[in-house]
């Protein structure tokens, strides 16, 4: 009897672990606690809700159930690396760290472990050179694209002439905040505007000096590369000094609802970039039906439809499409990280496909290749309507400045390749 029982237990364990191994494991390096929780929570809610919806509605991707592995990073680089190390052994297919600091640490690790990284609109910009960064993808856009999109928007607003305009950049004094400076300096030379970077120290709770300087120097436009409390304080300080909000433009990490609501009506007119459109998408009804109404919402369910929730959902959709493409290429449902990398490199997101997924026009159309892991780089400009309490898209997708950023990407990635001893080329397995 004892032997029979043991055999039964062993068999059941093998079956259970066998089915667990067959899952599509997608880690979610989230941050729901700490100083940056207000941004991390809605993103993670959107990311997880969409994947849960795929499980509930479609049985996962290609018939394979998705297993989400959430790990709390607190937006802390060390914890992020710990999360990576503790989850990669579970068969993780793709990592989206949602932090530039964590991304920089994971690039060599993920490359060595052959697990793809997707850093959507953050991380190391030159990773869009796929011949150097075989395992890193930053589609659909990166920071340098964002700088180009903003300048193109301002050119459009000023009849194509920014000569002698004063443009200041208020930036988080970190690797993330400094990312657009090179591009903006290059664009300042081309278009003849005066560029002034103004640093704000972490966390950005106190910015009086920076805004007094802006009040003294009265630039025509202020751009912002902020995250966390820096955004809310900057918007409040801009309102305090009476800076015209319509001339204050943040990047896509400085343009969520919680960035503007603390300043109340004073934030009306503030603009920001967005890499994804917002609005009432048909997919939200599906998420409500299959996830929220079943009591499986991530978090308290209150973030559905917000800017960062939508972006998290968009990120999950891009992971889904890459996995589906990998399944198609390799003819198996139970794909490996190496196969997912192939799927990411062969990814093509069309308008029809986005509509089919219930996310019409959520992002720009783009395709990925061995050489280009960065996507199209397009972005929209949105404006905060404090009266209605919502973001309103002001533009269609705007082109970046590939002719300016392209050489910078080549230069930076070549330097990385030299330093890391990488011979550029497409991944050959």
């Amino acid at each position: 009897m004892k032997l029979q029982t043991l055999t039964a237990v062993a068999l059941s364990t093998a079956l259970v672990s066998g089915s667990a191994l067959a899952d599509l494991v997608i880690p979610d390096l989230s941050y729901r606690t700490g100083p940056y929780a207000a941004g991390g929570t809605p993103f993670s809610d959107g990311f997880q809700d969409y994947l849960k919806m795929l499980n509930a509605r479609d049985g996962g991707i290609g018939g394979e159930e998705i297993r989400i592995l959430e790990c709390e990073t607190g937006y802390n680089t060390e914890k992020g690396v710990e999360c990576y190390e503790s989850t990669k052994g579970e068969g993780a297919l793709i990592y989206q760290p949602l932090s530039t600091g964590i991304t920089y640490q994971l690039i060599p690790k993920a490359t060595a472990d052959q697990i793809p990284l997707h850093t959507m609109g953050y991380g190391r910009t030159s990773a869009s050179n796929g011949e150097v960064f075989n395992w890193v993808f930053n589609y659909p856009a990166n920071y340098w694209d964002a700088a180009g999109v903003i300048v193109n928007y301002l050119l459009d607003e000023n009849s194509g002439d920014l000569k002698d305009k004063d443009i200041a950049l208020v930036y988080h004094n970190s690797a993330y905040g400094k990312e657009p400076i090179r591009t903006l300096e290059a664009l300042a030379e081309i278009h003849g505007f005066n560029f002034k970077p103004i640093a704000v120290d972490h966390p950005g709770q106190e910015q009086k000096s920076q805004w007094l300087q802006i009040r003294r120097e009265r630039p025509d436009y202020v751009l912002m590369w902020g995250w966390g409390v820096m955004n809310q304080v900057a918007i409040q300080e801009a309102a305090n000094i009476g800076f015209p909000m319509e001339n204050f433009i943040g990047n896509w990490w400085s343009g969520a609802e919680h960035d503007v609501t603390p300043a109340g009506a004073a934030a009306n007119g503030y603009k920001s970039l967005n890499m994804n459109r917002i609005g009432d998408l048909p997919v939200f009804a599906e998420i409500k039906k299959h996830v929220h109404e079943e009591g499986n919402a991530s978090g308290d369910g209150s973030n559905l439809g917000t800017v960062l929730y939508t972006r998290g959902m968009y990120a999950a959709m891009l992971a889904q499409e890459a996995i589906a493409k990998a399944q198609e290429i390799h003819g198996v449902a139970d794909v490996t990280p190496v196969m997912v990398r192939d799927g990411m490199e062969a990814l093509a997101i069309s308008a029809d496909r986005m509509t089919e997924l219930g996310m019409e026009n959520i992002g720009p159309e783009f395709s990925v290749s061995c050489e280009d892991h960065g996507g199209s780089g397009l972005g929209i400009v949105q404006q905060w309507d404090a009266g209605e309490g919502k973001w309103v898209a002001l533009t269609d997708y705007i082109e970046p400045n590939d002719d300016v950023t392209g050489p910078l990407i080549d230069e930076d990635s070549a330097a990385f390749a030299k330093e890391a001893g990488i011979t550029p080329g497409c991944y050959a397995g």
Binding site: P35, T41, Q205, E206, H258, D300, S302
Partner: protein
Amino acid sequence: MSADFLYGIEVILNGLMAGVMYALVALGFVLIFKASGIFNFAQGVMALFAALTLVGIMEGQVPFSHLINEVFGTEVHHFGWHVPALLAIAITLFVMVAFAWAVQKFLFKHLVGQEPIILFMATIGLAYFLEGFGDLMWGSNIKTLNLGLPQGGSRVIEDMTAKLGGDDFYGFFIDKLDIVATGVAIVLVLSLICFSQFTKQGRAMRAVADDHQAALSVGISLNFIWVLVWSLAGLVALVAGVMWGAKSGVQFSLSLIALKALPVLMLGGFTSIPGAIVGGLIIGVGEKLFEYLIGPMVGGATENWFAYVLALAFLVFRPQGLFGEKIIERV
């Protein structure tokens, strides 16, 4: 007068105002350190917790709603009412007193006689516990503080002073919130001084601060005094949380304001209430002036760095800080 000179004065004025905001945080540290010798690492988190509690009560939020919904499968988030600000402040103060009692009862009562480093480590643990507890109780989203505090530059001051300079001078910018914070800080400090000088409990508090054992020998309850001191630190934390939270919304980064108080304490001394104020003002003016004059030459963002350098310089010449008690140990 030249615009540069006038803008220099504007920077000094704003530095003084910023210094008051730093001093508000530093005061809480001083109160506890003076009475019990504990460097309370959790003071910043207490400011966050107090502000979270105030907004949660005002908005009629159900505490621990996420946990309740998870356990019982319910969907409760709000009571459906809004509590008037004054009543909400009173309830929050009650919560902070309850917190002070709990800290004494469940933590420090068991650590009597331990080394200062043990007590300090305990406050680090307390900070992490309270941060997680606040998250569980009120959630991690950013909350808007609607106390009706004025925001924005004072137009009156701006218009009155605009004539002092030429066309390139736009008048002094003084934030109305900073003016209110200064007024509140003055009232708070005067109240604390009056309390410690003219009330029985205040005198008992000072006696404990001077010599625990002597105070105990004349019948003063150390437990009561420590609960009282932690309650007062809770009151100071609420004021600091409200003032800082009004700028940025109430969010978890508020706990980091403690970092702004450390150089103030190093400079002013850990045991002096006037020291916290003067230290705050010196740090505020010093860092703002340095950023204005030297910052542009070195890439800016010098304030955090300079505050600590200034405090370190003071430490070298006066280790007990400007107003701290000189420690003489006989060997």
